[in-house]
């Protein structure tokens, strides 16, 4: 083999390898230690042919799980490895330490360091440790088996493109584009996606809004086929019918969304929320209406809030009963007169009441109401007068995954 085995080099390789992990993390890629260990396994099995380009593809397919993250990965890879001129040697140094039994100690140290760092990063430690132990066990047995990295180098069994013997490329071109060529092309930039919240998390939160009618006090009207069959079988084949309460989600949802000017920066977030609600098909009923800054005597049917395209708020109270759970989404940012003046609504009629009175009517008509605020101030914020006052009426949560989860729990609590 051509490379020189010195401690310096090994440590350089190790450092470069573990640094890569942190570079990925700082670029916003959520790489788990489990995936990292899988990558080590791939390396120790010689799946990269000790070529940087193949290392690029292998690490990407193991560490990145969405095309939207390819760009972030490219950036991290470029930052970490751009100094490397030659395609082959440095990776070999980098990978070599992994497969030396005497390096296991180092590996241990390194893992411990990772674990400590990871703890700061709030990674599930149990998961990590369990996987790590398992992985170490596997690795030991592989070493005992004598499949040393150097031993296998001369005839790496992997590689559809071939042409790599002992780490030196012998003629022909590999089927891959060079890693840097790929990165240079910036193909995946358009896929990039920096939304902090994803729709799935919202949907998961809405899952909490479940109340099965089996738990309610209603008559048993449905034939429970499974139980009937089981009971009949247990009964030696003589029919025994079992009835059950119909099992349906009884939760009905009323979504009232602020569509005022100050909400424009949050339109994507609101869109996500709306999508999540409409994708959650487990509700018995979902109704959505819009308002402008505060709720008054009319609620609009569309986010454009056009005059005339509305329903009476009173009509809403009469038609959608108190068992609807209400989620109000708004930034609660308004001038005091919008909340306290009987003529405070500058877009439409007030109906003889102030905004505050309308909000109190909502509170009286519905047992369960929460207010989701995309820009809620943390803690007390007396300078945001309207927000502070509305908090007196409704439980207010920040429109984030955690906030939404908390709000859903609030909606499901028994009174």
């Amino acid at each position: 083999m051509l490379f020189i085995e010195t401690n310096n080099l090994k440590i350089m390789g190790e450092k470069m390898f573990s640094d890569f992990f942190y570079t990925l993390k700082t670029k916003g890629l959520n790489v788990s230690l489990a995936e990292w260990i899988t990558l080590q396994e791939a390396l120790s099995k010689g799946l990269c042919n000790s070529s940087l380009t193949e290392f690029y593809y292998v690490s990407r397919m193991i560490l990145v799980k969405s095309e939207t993250d390819y760009d972030k990965f490219d950036m991290a890879f470029l930052e970490q490895f751009k100094g490397i001129e030659s395609e082959d040697n440095p990776t070999k140094q980098m990978l070599d330490w992994l497969d030396k039994p005497e390096m296991n100690e180092l590996l241990h140290e390194d893992e411990t360091r990772w674990l400590n760092k990871l703890e700061e990063m709030k990674v599930d430690k149990d998961d990590v440790e369990e996987n790590y132990k398992k992985r170490m066990k596997e690795q030991d047995s592989e070493h005992n088996g004598g499949s040393q990295w150097i031993g296998t180098m001369g005839k790496t069994s992997y590689g559809n493109t071939g042409g790599n013997i002992g780490g030196i490329r012998v003629g022909g071109k590999t089927g891959y584009q060079s890693a840097f060529q790929v990165i240079g092309a910036k193909k995946f930039k358009d896929f990039r996606d920096d939304r902090t919240l994803d729709n799935r998390q919202f949907q998961m939160a809405f899952r909490k809004l479940r109340q099965y009618s089996t738990r309610l006090d209603i008559p048993k009207t449905e034939l429970d086929i499974n139980q009937t069959i089981d009971q009949t079988c247990n009964n030696g084949g003589y029919l025994k019918i079992v009835m059950d309460k119909p099992r349906k989600n009884a939760v009905k949802l009323l979504l009232l969304m602020d569509s005022g000017g100050t909400m424009i920066p949050y339109s994507t977030l609101l869109n996500e929320l709306f999508q999540a609600v409409s994708k959650s098909n487990h509700f018995k009923d979902v109704k959505s209406y819009y308002f402008h800054n505060c709720i008054y005597s009319k609620l609009y049917k569309t986010p454009e809030c056009e005059n005339g395209d509305w329903v009476d708020t009173q009509w809403l109270f009469q038609n959608y009963g108190s068992d609807y759970k209400v989620i109000i989404v708004g930034d609660a940012a308004m001038a005091p007169e919008e909340l306290y003046s009987k003529t405070g609504n500058y877009r439409g009629p007030n109906g003889g009441y102030t905004g505050m009175e309308w909000l109190q009517m909502v509170k009286r008509n519905y047992k369960k109401v929460v207010w989701m605020n995309p820009k809620m101030a943390p803690g007390e914020a007396p300078w945001r007068e309207a927000e502070t006052d509305i908090k007196q009426i409704f439980s207010m949560y920040k429109l984030s995954v955690k906030g939404l989860n908390d709000a859903m729990i609030k909606l499901m609590q028994n009174r």
Binding site: S32, N160, G175, Q203, G236
Partner: protein, 271 residues
């Protein structure tokens, strides 16, 4: 390592797609394939099976599919019938346990390829329900107290259209590959693998039109590989003269399915 996956006569795979398959096999992890509709995600599994000479089991996921369906189903009704008519072997529950696709792939004497097709069609929790089974390659049948363990670890290929996002715990366990839309070179190779005798000039004009249409910004549903293949076939059968393809856009309904897209295409090609 044993056999390796390579492009077949009917299926042209890019190099790094082939590498993903081989690495997933080497690391014994499920391979998750994502990509635009019509990029041949499902066909990949067939090609892998063909190339490695292994049997392919397909588990088609629908919105009502439960994880349990893939493991086993206990046919209680059959047992009830048999009990009423005094059939033999009613006391043997094992007779009424029917293995699902995943169960079959574990139980097979030979290594098989298991395709879990369109996993994102199912309920949000579906992938999580399969974590243990895919990790450990075993499950437990309560009724018969039997553990079904994979005799030969199946090669699992999972496809997703990204209709729903998949849970992180599931993604962590997979090797991921995103099938990019083929560039012109690869596309030409793909078309030729299906229609070896296609006329050069027809292919050239059809491909140019096809990529032009795909590059129109306002188009809602971009035509895909399978639609291009159908279109070229129609052009061949219809005997269109190749120089009219670009201007007259014959059989456009094959490439573009939405009315509003059809108008957009006509406007942009004419201008």
């Amino acid at each position: 390592m044993g056999q390796k996956f390579e492009s077949t006569n009917d299926y042209v795979a890019s190099d790094n797609l082939m590498a993903s398959v081989n690495i997933a096999v080497a690391l014994q992890k499920p391979l998750l394939i994502k990509g635009e509709p019509g990029t041949g995600k499902t066909m990949l599994a067939e090609a892998v099976a063909g190339s490695l000479g292994k049997k392919l089991l397909i588990w088609n996921i629908k919105s009502t599919t439960k994880a349990q369906d893939g493991l086993y189903v206990y046919d209680t009704i059959q047992r009830l019938y048999d009990g009423q008519f005094g059939e033999e072997g009613v006391d043997d529950i094992a007779k009424y346990i029917k293995l699902g696709k995943l169960g079959d792939s574990f139980d097979s004497e030979e290594q098989v390829i298991l395709l879990i097709d369109e996993i994102d069609k199912a309920d949000l929790e579906f992938p999580n329900d399969l974590l243990w089974e895919l990790d450990q390659m075993e499950f437990y049948i309560h009724e018969t107290k039997r553990i079904v363990k994979a005799k030969k670890r199946p090669i699992v290929i999972i496809t997703s259209n990204a209709e729903k996002e998949l849970p992180d715990a599931f993604l962590r366990r997979c090797i991921f590959h995103y099938i990019e839309f083929p560039d012109k070179e690869l596309m030409e190779e793909i078309v030729r693998s299906h229609y070896p005798d296609v006329e050069d000039i027809l292919l050239k004009n059809a491909m140019e039109t096809f990529y032009n249409i795909r590059s129109i910004r306002d188009i809602r549903k971009k035509p895909s590989t399978s639609e291009l293949l159908d279109w070229i076939k129609a052009l061949e059968i219809g005997g269109m003269s190749p120089d009219k393809i670009k201007t007259e856009l014959p059989f456009m309904g094959i490439l573009v399915k939405k009315d509003e897209d059809l108008d957009t295409v006509k406007m942009s090609i004419n201008s």
